[in-house]
C-alpha cells in the first residue's frame, strides 16, 4: 500500500465528519472514494493533505507519517491534492498556475512543464492567457496539470467532474487512467458520480456519514445491488 489511512478522525466543532476511517491504496492503483453529499469525502482529502487537522489516526505515504505535516509540506512528500472546484488561480496566467505547482523544487523543471503541456494541448495553446479565460473543462485540466508539476507519487482529486459535461468528464477520467498506466502514478478519485467513477477505477471505498461502509474492487461494488441502492443512488 503506497497510501495508508489508519483510523482517521476529523471534526468541525461538535460535528464528527470522519469516524475511524481506514483505507489503503495500492501502488499504481486507481481508486474511487464515493458517497452522497456530506458523506465526508472532501473532509477526508483535506485531512490527508493537512488542510484540516486530524483529530486522531494516521496518514502514511510509503510508510512515512504525514499526519501532522502542514499542507505546504505534504505536497513536497509526494501527495498532491486537486481541491474541490480545482483551485485554479484566475488572477494568474495559465503558465504561472503551472509553474506554481513545481515551484517548491526550486530548480526550474522545464521537462515537467513540457510533459503537462503535451498531456493537455488546450493549455499549450493558451499558455500566456489569464486562467480566467479558460472553460470549465480546461480549468480542471489546469488544476490537474498544476498538481502534476509537483511530480507527485499519489494524486488526490476532489470531484473533478463537478459542473462538466458528461463527455468532458469521460475524457478526464480516461486521461487519469492513461496517466496511471504511462507514469505509474497512483490516483485517488473522489466522486459523487459513482457510476462513471467505478467504470474507470479498479477499486473503491464508499463513505457514509463519515464512515467507510463498503469497499472492494470497482466491478464488485458496481454489481453489489445493496450498496448501490443504499449509498450510491443508482
Amino acid at each position: 500500500m503506497i497510501l495508508e489511512v489508519q483510523n482517521l478522525n476529523a471534526s468541525y466543532g461538535a460535528v464528527r465528519a470522519l469516524k475511524d476511517v481506514s483505507l489503503g491504496v495500492a501502488e499504481k492503483g486507481f481508486c474511487a472514494v464515493l458517497g452522497a453529499n456530506g458523506a465526508g469525502k472532501t473532509t477526508l482529502l483535506r485531512t490527508l493533505t493537512g488542510l484540516h487537522r486530524a483529530a486522531g489516526g494516521r496518514v502514511l505515504l510509503e510508510g512515512e507519517d504525514l499526519t501532522r505535516l502542514p499542507a505546504e509540506r505534504v505536497v513536497t512528500r509526494g501527495l498532491a491534492h486537486v481541491p474541490e472546484g480545482g483551485g485554479v488561480i484566475t488572477e494568474l496566467t495559465v503558465e504561472e498556475n503551472l509553474r506554481l505547482g513545481g515551484l517548491w523544487r526550486r530548480r526550474r523543471d522545464r521537462v515537467a512543464l513540457d510533459e503537462v503541456l503535451d498531456l493537455f494541448p488546450p493549455l499549450a495553446q493558451r499558455i500566456s492567457k489569464s486562467a480566467s479565460t479558460l472553460s470549465g473543462g480546461e480549468r480542471q485540466m489546469l488544476a490537474i496539470g498544476r498538481a502534476l508539476m509537483s511530480r507527485p507519487k499519489v494524486l488526490l482529486l476532489d470531484e473533478p467532474s463537478l459542473g462538466l459535461a458528461p463527455l468532458v468528464t469521460r475524457q478526464i477520467f480516461d486521461l487519469l487512467r492513461e496517466l496511471r498506466s504511462s507514469t505509474g502514478l497512483t490516483v485517488v478519485l473522489v466522486e459523487q458520480n459513482a457510476n462513471g467513477a467505478l467504470a474507470v477505477t479498479d477499486s473503491g471505498f464508499v463513505l457514509n456519514q463519515g464512515s467507510v461502509v463498503a469497499s472492494g474492487p470497482s466491478a464488485e461494488l458496481l454489481s453489489d445491488d445493496r450498496t448501490r441502492h443504499a449509498y450510491l443512488g443508482f
Partner: protein, 283 residues
C-alpha cells in the same frame, strides 16, 4: 508657461512621496485586505533611526540605508508579533490594532527622541525648481515601483506572494508557505514606507511629521484602487499634481480641498478606484 512647468514638476515630486506611501498600503491590502494605519508609525521609526545613524556616522547615506533596513525589519516584526495573532479573530480588530499601534509608536518615538523637531536633511540640494532633491524623490520612487513590478511579475518569490494573496489554500497545496509570504509582504511594504518617510521628512521631523502625508497617501491608494500597485502610483501623482496646480493658481489654502475634490470626482465615476479590477470571483 513656466509657472505651469514649475507647478507640474513640484506636483510630481510631492506626488512621488504619496505614491510610495500608497504603494506600501496597497501591498499590504492586496495580501491581507487590511488598511495598515500603522504605516506612518513604521516610517517614523525608520526615519528616526536614519536620523540617529546619520548623526553617529556623519553620513546621510549610511543613515538612509539603515532607515530602509529598519523599515523592512519593523514591518516583518509587526506582522509576526502583532498582526498575525489577532488577524485570526477579525478584520475589524486588526484595523483597530494598527490604529492603536500608530498611537503607541508615536508616543514611544516622542519618549525616546523627544517631541521637539529635529533637523532632517534632504538627500540632495533642494533649492530651485525641480531641485536635485526633487529629482531624487521622483527617480527613487519610480525605480522602486519598477523593481516591485519586476519582483511580483518575474520572480518565483513574486509568484508565491501573488498566489498566497489571491488563493491562500491553493497556494498551500502547491507548497507555498503562505505565512512567510505575508511577512515578506509587510517587510517590503514597510521598506517602501520608510523610503516615503525619508523623502517626506525634510527639513524637520517630529512624532507627528507624517500625519498629513499619510492622509494623502491613503487618498492616493483609494482613488487608484486599493488593490492595484499601478493605481497607487497613478493616484499619488494625480493628488500631487492636483494639489500643486490648485495651490499655485488658486492659493495654497485650497490645496486640501483640491485633494478632496479629486477623491469625490474619481470615486463618483469609478467607485472602486481608477484601476481596481472587477471584484474577484469568490469560490
Amino acid at each position: 508657461m513656466t509657472t505651469f512647468l514649475n507647478l507640474t514638476l513640484n506636483g510630481l515630486a510631492t506626488g512621488a512621496v504619496y505614491a510610495a506611501l500608497a504603494l506600501s498600503l496597497v501591498i499590504i491590502y492586496q495580501a491581507t485586505r487590511l488598511v495598515n494605519f500603522a504605516q506612518p508609525a513604521l516610517a517614523l521609526v525608520a526615519v528616526y533611526i536614519a536620523y540617529t545613524v546619520s548623526q553617529m556616522t556623519g553620513s546621510y547615506w549610511i543613515g538612509f540605508v539603515a532607515g530602509l533596513l529598519s523599515g523592512l525589519v519593523a514591518g516583518a516584526l509587526v506582522e509576526r508579533v502583532v498582526i498575525r495573532p489577532i488577524a485570526k479573530s477579525s478584520e475589524l480588530n486588526a484595523i483597530i490594532v494598527t490604529l492603536g499601534l500608530l498611537l503607541i509608536v508615536q508616543g514611544g518615538v516622542g519618549m525616546i527622541w523627544g517631541n521637539r523637531q529635529h533637523g532632517f536633511p534632504y538627500a540632495f540640494d533642494y533649492v530651485g525648481r525641480f531641485s536635485p532633491a526633487d529629482v531624487f524623490a521622483v527617480a527613487s520612487v519610480a525605480v522602486t515601483a519598477l523593481l516591485l513590478f519586476g519582483l511580483y511579475q518575474f520572480t518565483p518569490l513574486g509568484l508565491r506572494m501573488r498566489a498566497a494573496a489571491f488563493r491562500p489554500e491553493a497556494a498551500r497545496l502547491s507548497g507555498v508557505k503562505v505565512g512567510l509570504m505575508l511577512t515578506a509582504g509587510w517587510a517590503i511594504a514597510s521598506l517602501i514606507g520608510a523610503l516615503a518617510g525619508m523623502l517626506a521628512g525634510p527639513p524637520f521631523i517630529s512624532p507627528n511629521a507624517f500625519d498629513g502625508v499619510f492622509v494623502y497617501g491613503i487618498t492616493a491608494a483609494v482613488i487608484g484602487g486599493l488593490d492595484n500597485p499601478f493605481g497607487a502610483v497613478l493616484g499619488g501623482v494625480l493628488i500631487g499634481l492636483g494639489m500643486s496646480y490648485v495651490s499655485g493658481y488658486a492659493g495654497p489654502e485650497l490645496a486640501t480641498l483640491a485633494a478632496l475634490a479629486i477623491v469625490v470626482l474619481v470615486l463618483s465615476v469609478r467607485p472602486d478606484g481608477i484601476l481596481s479590477r472587477p471584484a474577484a470571483r469568490k469560490v
